[in-house]
Symmetry: D2
């Protein structure tokens, strides 16, 4: 991961006006648009001042017209999408299936943001594209043709950990223990019995236990690249809410943090438009429907070594998927980074 | 904590019949009956074959009649309860306020199960009464006059950890990291804005952060008494469900567990009627409305030292409060331990 | 519908004891056991003092073992069920598919409670079996070999209306307008996208609109048989809760009810163990997990003709399905009507 | 109610630009800003291109700073609000308490939108101000100094009924039966036990039964003024959702509607930006967070007289309160009606 490029300048009213009046919007397409992330992408594109939706593909739901972002949107069959008509394509296809479609879109001349795991660090095709964790990797994303959009859990956890790692503040060899909980939209909208309202309501459980969740790969690769020598332990849980992720991260420090415990995060994220440092533990309702990561840090009392609790909340469909994808697309297309994104 | 007494024999049909036909039920009272735990106590008592409710007190709700366990139950003012009319009194009064009332009930000749924190290990009046974590402390509870009923989080966590601690399986000096999530009934039914449906629905957040939650005291004292030299880290969260607790505990082992990773729990809890060892991660719906602790254990992959994930689920109002209180009362009154409890 | 037979005598302790000690339990089977109603049936049978589960069939979930009523229950393929081994069979198969299986079970010598619509009044095979709306039709159900168990909405609405109809209190030719709302378990547990937690949570909508819901047939036929000449209007809605039905019924009266507005219901249901007349509007939480119908009645102010609001709440899986089925089975098998049912 | 003025022209990009660049925003104040409607008002004002928040008052929560519409907003004590500093004041004070404060704001020279019931048709101070049911009363609202903003239930029901009433399509003397269900935000955010998550979750019940709900007054007065001679029957219910209202209205027609059953609504609302006519029954999730009324109509099968089901869904906090208040304020201030409102 390169040295970080600075946070973007804010957009003033005049700039917004400039962009909003662009005569020709940029055509973009969405592959796999019928899932929750794909739908969110369509909604964001409809509301974006400089983008327009060229096509949205779906398999099972091909032909269906749904209301997204205030506009009727019709899903076309994958073969009916004119890949070349889009300047940029978002792929929200399943892991594995995405790689080939990304190749076809690139061959047709489109830039691509791939929301699948295929190209992410630690995965099969890692290295083919910069990792789109925007705040850590902005320099490589600006102007890129292909970006690997991060996983939702990975986004919430890596943005929370990076300031500690970059400052060598985590005790070498220690375990970083993360329990995280996600709303059901993280599991997609394919009909499965265990995701029925009658099963999820009034329930809560861990899943993907034993430190084997798919996102661990990209988290481990990224943490290692940032220079930390730690064991990541990650236990995800399923929440009876529609959207939102909260990661609760317990860290053993190499040394106490003097002064303001939030200092490392303030230093790292001072000018970031989509990162909020909170005085109180973040709640899902603080971040839902917003493209932000909200972080809170507290020392843990009564332990022999200095330890920290780092809490990080995102909307899994925005900063954890479609929102960050648009954030990356803005950079790839040389648009202001915050354009069309709810902060 | 003494050496454990054996698990109780099961009740066969003949025994149940014997107890169910007892001519005279044992009168018991409930102090602080209008809260969620108090109401659950009344419902359990109404359904218990050998107990009958002598009185149920409430302050703000004095005079109210509510339907509990299929029977209309009228709350009387605290001063109107004839403490001496009850052979045993449950105190579900708030921490601090309970201590004095417990004393008055004892002076009136009643045995007492105190559901408040006042008498628990690590708290102000610790040592006055055995700690009512039934499965760990049965020997001291049988026939006791006064028992300190454990906290809900403490119950779920200590029952999960005890088999490891007793076998010296936790790495000395290591941190045991527990993230736990509780339904809102854990916060009581006093009207507070932050507990309104409009605030809790679709939300999730940590609270009592920084390793300062009240239950840490009794957990630390108990773990120390059991012989472990570890740092307990505990972060509770508020779930948008009515009832249930799930504790997700990450442990660093002193040495790997050979063979069946559930072995220590099987050894410790073989004959326990209220402990379930599960092959899959427990869900709240597995335990809600039941007086059980459901435990699942998995090794954590990819860490340099051997680590375990221990998951423990209970109904916070039953095994975490009223159910365990009746379990203890059964022992104090020389009744079969499982009588009147939904398993 | 015949003149009503009287409500059953209560069961005293001695009778319960008598039945509980029956040496041989009666074997019963469940066809279509994997749906919500089928699972509830298995749970009730496991907890019933005189019944035992001979088999439970399922198609897609054949071979699965699930925990129901505190016991592991394994679903067998329909062809593997020895129909003749059961004295009574509950069919919780889908409408249409049930009829043939009911015939096979009858041929094998079993009595049958059919929970499908096939045999209900107004449906294709109406007339083959008494309608199992227990409180209205007890005389025909006692000792019957085959009973058509009512629909959930029909149960809540017909029990609420019958006392008015029987007393000719509804204005002839008027419209009886029912809006009802059901928890999602009413829609079954087959995986459908529109029943996912992410779709149902925080939502509410009408469905089956235009006065075409399947249950209208049995309601119209039953109301006509009871002697009323009215138009039934019925609009069902889907609630974001797991279980429970509330029917809100607006009735135009032929003449005002003098005195106690609840009088007709008190007269009709004085001794009924599973009908509750409430002073306040019933809530789902008053009836969930109980085999009762809870009814509340109020005059409507400010209308030129006398009108009433009748509110009726049930648990759709108990009094609306499995509970009433067991209630009927008890009568068919000459057991006390309330045996094994939570009131 | 006057003859209706035409629906407003749409805002094109140029007009939006014109308004967005207004150098001076119009200062507006909010009285009673800490409730759900008041908070929503503050959020809308913060996002409005031509308004700015001059003050937001609260009693119990005075001094509190909350995040609304992406901005920190501090509530001041009522006496600390400089009423004269606002060109327009929204009063979200409780019924009864609002009237006096509205007077003081008017005396200070501010225009006022009163969200309380005090000035609405059928209430104590009716006649002092036009009724702000925008689509029915636009002519009187444009340029008005004082407007009585409608109740949430009344908005959903009256907009659904008006096209029938105006065309004399409802059978004279018949009963119009409305069952409606509202999310809990309709009950405000004052802490009450019956609104706790633990009480509302998995529940559903009617309240304000017997045809006595406060909103009936304004509905009756408005329907009468529109020329209908009918009995309104209204039964509200409390839903376990945060926001949204669905009204299910059963109407007896004077004569069948020939051709398209939606015809009367198409005629009445052809150009309305905030009214949607839907082919399917509207769901809460179609309207939540939007300032729209979504209406669906179906003939009811099998009745002797022609009857209709009219379904109407709104967000109770937007079109049912704060959104319609801003819609009215836009007209009062000669701004485009749709400015700052999510459609």
């Amino acid at each position: 991961m390169q040295k970080r490029s600075p946070a973007p300048p804010g957009i003033d009213g005049a700039a917004l006006h400039h962009y909003a009046l662009r005569v020709n919007r940029i055509p973009v397409g969405v592959l796999g648009a019928s899932g929750y992330a794909g739908r969110e992408l369509c909604a964001l594109i409809h509301g974006h001042p400089c983008l327009e939706l060229a096509f949205a593909t779906a398999n099972d739901q091909r032909g269906a017209t749904v209301r997204l972002g205030g506009r009727d949107t019709t899903f076309v069959a994958p073969d009916d999408a004119a890949l070349g008509s889009a300047e940029l394509v978002f792929s929200a296809l399943p892991h594995g299936a995405s790689y080939e479609s990304v190749g076809r879109a690139r061959d047709a001349g489109a830039r691509v943001v791939d929301l699948s795991a295929d190209l992410r660090p630690g995965n099969e095709h890692a290295g083919s594209a910069p990792y789109g964790l925007t705040e850590l990797n902005r320099g490589q994303i600006v102007g890129a043709d292909l970006v690997a959009n991060p996983g939702c859990y990975a986004t919430s956890i890596l943005l929370a950990l990076a300031p500690l790692v970059e400052r060598d503040l985590i005790a070498p060899g220690s375990a970083v223990v993360t329990d995280a909980a996600s709303g059901v939209s993280g599991a997609g909208n394919a009909p499965k019995r265990e995701l029925l309202f009658g099963e999820v309501s009034e329930d809560y459980r861990a899943y993907g236990t034993g430190n084997v969740h798919r996102h661990l790969k990209e988290m481990r690769a990224t943490v290692a690249e940032l220079g930390a020598d730690v064991d990541l332990v990650f236990t995800p849980h399923l929440l009876p809410v529609a959207r939102g992720i909260l990661a609760s991260i317990t860290v053993t420090l190499a040394r106490p943090i003097d002064g303001d415990v939030l200092g490392p995060w303030r230093d790292a994220y001072a000018a970031e438009p989509f990162i909020e440092l909170a005085k109180e533990p973040p709640a899902l309702r603080d971040v839902v429907r917003r493209n932000v990561t909200r972080i809170h840090v507290e020392p843990l009392a009564g332990t022999r070594r200095p330890m920290l609790l780092v809490l990080s909340a995102i909307d899994n469909l925005l900063k954890g998927a479609a929102g960050q994808a648009v954030q990356n697309a803005n950079l790839m297309l040389s648009l202001p980074e915050t354009l069309g994104l709810p902060a």
